[in-house]
Amino acid sequence: MSLVADTSVPASPSTWAGQLAESLRGVFLHRRWITFLVIGVVWQVTAMIANIGLFPTPATVIAVSWQYVITGLFFSELGISMIRIILGFSAALLLGTIVGILMGSWRFWDEFFQDFVILGLSMPALIYALLCVMVFGLGLTAPVMAIILGAYPFVAVNIREGVKSIDKELLDMSHVYAVDRWRLVRQLILPSLLPFILAAIRVGFTVAWKISVLTEVFGGDSGIGYQIRVDFASFKMRGVLAWGILFGMVMLTIEYGLLLPAERHFARWRAKVKEVI
């Protein structure tokens, strides 16, 4: 186990080439690869021993994923799904922000919306997907409505917490010093709301993405969910797994490559940023 090239205490080589080599070694000699290796080998061996058509080897699954990527199928379906997700999630973000601000600012609205938001959080996405497919059919309305219904409670809850966390004393002080409204919004309200808005976007987007795929599974003629459905219906397990892996990769890229860094950047002035993994 001497593969520990983890860069926790780097010897800080002076030249940029040395630094590059150091960080490359950190990536390639990381322990994480052992896990992938072990899982890959165990899976491959089990699949070869079981030797039934239903249980694909990792090599097959990766080959199928690669096939989907190079034929362009993956990108065209991803594009279609993305349009639905972006449309639906923008609407959900708007609605959730309005509800969240109302709930955070006034006790009356807090109690007014509370039951709906809680029920919305606990209902499974499946229900929204099935319901919207039945009521709105195959068009664009079904995924968009399902995403709005499923994702707005997550946005609202986060925005509500954000509004509640705005420093009341700072508000009072700016009131006393007659700070004008525009400056108040720009320099006090928005900065303290921003981390919560970004958290809302991150959580809500994940939910939106999953709901959109579910909607496509039950009533769509295109999109990633539809492709998963097609492979499932033809008992093509390697196809389902390949789509799952591609799906997971896209999720991880969006979350860890885009949303989380943005959230950290805008929340860097805050003392504690809660960090889950």
Binding site: F116, S122, W243, I277
Partner: protein, 276 residues
Amino acid sequence: MEAMIATPMSTPLGWSSRLGQFLKRFIFSPRWLAILVALVIWQLYADYRDTRLIPAPSRVFTELYGIVASGLFFTELAASMYRIVVGFGVALLVGLLVGILMGSRDSWNDYLKDLVTFGLAMPGLIYALVAVLFFGLSLWAPVTAILATSYPFVAVNIREGVKAISKELLDMGRVYQVKRSKVVLQIILPSLLPFVLAGFRLGFAIAWKVSTLVEVFGAVNGIGWQIRGSFDEFSVHGMLAWALLFGLVMLFIEYGLLLPIERYFGRWRPKVKQVM
């Protein structure tokens, strides 16, 4: 809502007047207005569209009452619960093990981090479909799908819990040669418990949703199967009735059972993060 009467220590009132206050707050709460508004809008929209696809609220509630009164709800709930309890039991064990390993050893954290992260990002749908394809109608399908989806949520929480154990208290325990059992019982377990419960709550919610998905695609009973049946018959009122029942059971388990337990055991902690 119960928390509203339990917290204000500053007002030394008799229990009867506190109960009176609570009832007053409860009866005059804006929530009833919200429910009324929602029902009216729903009714008006159903009248306006006037298709079988948009049932009036009364129709949904009759259906809901029928499902409960005939006992169908309870048999289906029991079938679903059986799957969830078995699956989530296994997931809890695996999550605990993985979480403790990840929290206490850096090397295990490196080994398992990617797996857990990937597990968090994969949708339950994929696990449900693969499990159904592979195991068919047997109990293995829901159990595997639940295990794969909900153990990462348990593991992440346990990992945070293990990391949050006060190193100074442990050191002090060693200096004063406190017995091992006492260290476990009085330092490790109490600081781990809130995290275990949070992991339990989150993981259970996920398990419940995945189990329903598995039932939709491959089962012959359970709530998911009933929802699927209503979908196949284009019976929107049936689906809404099952969905409402599902939501109510979830709310009951979460706010009536798990959250109070979590708050009770976490009460010595200064801040228990409270999202609604």
